[in-house]
């Protein structure tokens, strides 16, 4: 049958799925009865753990239905998060009784019954009648089915042709009849609504916590290795000068003291310069005056020329400004370090409640978001506030990085 050839494999699997419906629906019905028993049993306190077991056990039924839908109906339903218990027997019980995924599987067992009946009836009817009519010339004379049995050869051949038509239609009919089944599997057997969002929030919260810890560690390291070490050296020089000055009546000691104070003075100025760089890295003071002004300073300090175009009618939240600033700083540092670009451009706009940042360079391209790369770190940072980071960087360039952040969080 050339018309059905492209869908033959799929039609076969869908037919199998529809024909398995009585079995699956029957199992579901049986399980429903068990759950009902559990509900009734809660009249007695010992019934409560039994019901809890039933609810969590329904996850197994859901998983079986999900697997079948994937294997035969080609319906990709994401598995819900595994059951998460809480410490303590009472908490465990409460968690099991309130297991949304389990209850949804139970509900699926109930409401899928009409859908299953429909799928089975259509599949069995179309394929069954089709085959019956197709084979009409073989059996019409025995007249086993008087109601539809034809009386003449031409009639029999006509019915046979009708059978062919029915069989051609059957795959499409079955597919249509499976629509409610699929919809129910998708809606009730996947992750509960909000679960995906909660998962994202949990992930980004972990990122935010790690990021904050890493930032503190970096600041501590900078202060320890830089500023504190310099101050110790400075104090040491002054201490030595003090010793020399204790016997200042001897000219060579006075001279040594002067040399030490000179060194200490230089040390103090270098410490101040280092501290300035360090504090600007923690929070650039220009950011208090607004993102545009901070970015102007940043662009001016860049070793390659940066054209800045900023149009911000509305001021974003401070956290968003900070993320946008450090993204730009890191992206421009990447441009200077890796791209070999001669010039770069930064564009900043607001669009439908979003802050859109674009950093472009005319370098050699090939930037990638590998695990552990600076760009991956940036993307993670942006994700913390539900933002997005996109890279277009073909080999040979140019590289365009776009960052979208909500204006307010």
């Amino acid at each position: 049958m050339p018309i059905t050839a492209p869908v033959r494999g799929r039609a076969g699997r869908e037919l199998a799925y529809a024909l398995l419906m009585p079995l699956m629906a029957g199992l579901g019905l049986l399980y429903l009865l068990v759950v009902l028993l559990g509900v009734i049993a809660t009249a007695n306190i010992v019934g409560v753990p039994f019901l809890a077991l039933c609810v969590v056990g329904a996850r197994g039924l859901g998983a079986a239905n999900r697997g079948l839908a994937r294997a035969l109906a080609g319906e990709q339903v994401a598995a819900p998060a595994p059951f998460r218990s809480r410490p303590g027997p009472l908490n465990r019980l409460a968690a099991a009784l309130g297991d949304v995924v389990g209850w949804r599987a139970v509900i699926h067992g109930l409401v899928r019954l009409p859908a299953a009946v429909l799928a089975f009836a259509v599949a069995a009817g179309l394929w069954g009648y089709g085959l019956l009519l197709l084979s009409c010339p073989l059996w019409w004379r025995t007249a086993a089915l008087p109601a539809i049995a034809p009386t003449t050869w031409p009639d029999a051949l006509l019915l046979s042709a009708a059978g062919v038509a029915l069989l051609l239609l059957a795959p499409w009919g079955v597919r249509l009849a499976l629509v409610p089944e699929r919809w129910l599997a998708r809606t009730l057997l996947g992750p509960a609504p909000g679960a995906a969002r909660i998962r994202t929030l949990e992930q980004t919260r972990a990122l935010a916590v790690d990021d904050a810890a890493a930032a503190l560690r970096r600041i501590e390291r900078d202060l320890h290795d830089g500023t504190a070490a310099r101050l110790v050296a400075l104090a040491m020089r002054l201490g030595m000068a003090q010793e020399e000055l204790a016997e200042a009546d001897r000219p060579e000691r006075l001279e040594r003291a002067r040399g030490l104070v000179d060194g200490a003075h230089r040390e103090a100025k270098e410490t101040l310069a280092e501290l300035r760089v360090l504090t600007r890295g923690i929070h650039p003071p220009a950011l208090d005056k607004g993102l545009e002004i901070a970015l102007e300073t940043l662009a001016a300090r860049s070793p390659i020329p940066v054209a800045l175009e900023a149009d911000l009618p509305e001021r974003p939240s401070p956290a968003v400004e900070s993320i946008a600033f450090f993204c730009t700083a890191e992206l421009l540092a990447n441009v200077a370090k890796h791209s070999g670009a001669r010039r770069a451009a930064v564009e900043l706009r607001t669009r439908a409640g979003l802050l859109a940042l674009l950093v472009r360079d005319d370098g050699k391209g090939g930037a990638m978001m590998d695990a552990g790369s600076g760009l991956r770190g940036l993307a993670d940072r942006v994700r913390m506030v539900d933002g997005r980071l996109g890279i277009r960087s073909p080999a040979g360039g140019p590289t365009v990085v776009t960052v979208e952040l909500p204006l307010h969080i």
Binding site: A229, V232, A235, M236, R237, G239, E243, E267
Partner: protein, 214 residues
């Protein structure tokens, strides 16, 4: 004295070298990590090693571990561990291998040049020098409360100065006491901490260790 320095911050390394050289000491080597410290102690056999706790590559307790190891390999070597933080655990680890000729000081103590150099001399002479901060932390630790509870306020002061490695006469001077009454306090401390009579100096170290060991 012949001294090696292990310190990764260049400003401090150079500053220490200048300081020690100006006081007639010979800085035979100045290195930036624990591995190099072990190598140069093996090579130069110095009298004292001045070692920073936090050094590359791990930037955690590299220097401390190197210091413990060089002391094991060279029991006569004096070691001054210095650091920007005082961790009592580090002090305990350092002293676990014997307290003779060991010091643990905050880096900022180097600002008081005379005290710092005196500490080096004491370490070279086999004494133990602990930063006052170590003692403060130990005294403040609540888990030691019961043991310390037996000591009077005055005895604690004496113990604190003992932990810094001071002699009885130095303690007497610092607390404006007579030499005799310091001796009496020290004996009281030994008795209350249950330290057996033995060589006096050794008992002083034990009294301090008593608080360092959990």
């Amino acid at each position: 004295m012949r001294i090696v320095i292990a310190e990764d911050a260049v400003v401090l390394r150079d500053g220490l070298r200048l300081l020690l050289a100006s006081r007639g000491h010979e800085v035979v080597a100045a290195v930036g990590d624990g591995e190099a410290l072990r190598a140069c102690v093996d090579e130069h056999r110095p009298d004292i090693a001045v070692v920073d706790v936090r050094m590359p590559p791990s930037h955690t307790d590299e220097g401390l571990r190197a210091a413990i190891q060089v002391r094991r390999d060279h029991p006569d070597l004096g070691v001054l561990v210095f650091s920007q933080y005082i961790e009592t655990r580090y002090a305990a680890q350092l002293l676990a291998g014997g307290a003779r000729g060991v010091g643990y000081l905050l880096k900022e103590r180097v600002a008081d040049v005379r005290d710092f150099l005196a500490a080096l001399d004491r370490i070279a002479a086999g004494e133990t020098v602990l930063d006052p901060e170590v003692v403060t932390q130990l005294m403040g630790a609540s888990r030691r409360g019961d043991a310390l509870g037996a000591l009077t306020a005055r005895e604690r002061e004496v113990l604190a100065l003992m932990a810094e490695g001071r002699s009885n006469s130095a303690i007497a001077e610092a607390l404006f006491l007579s030499y005799g009454s310091v001796e009496k306090h020290v004996t009281q401390i030994f008795t209350k901490l249950g330290l057996p009579p033995s060589d006096g100096d050794h008992r002083r170290v034990l009294a301090v260790l008593h608080y360092l060991q959990a």
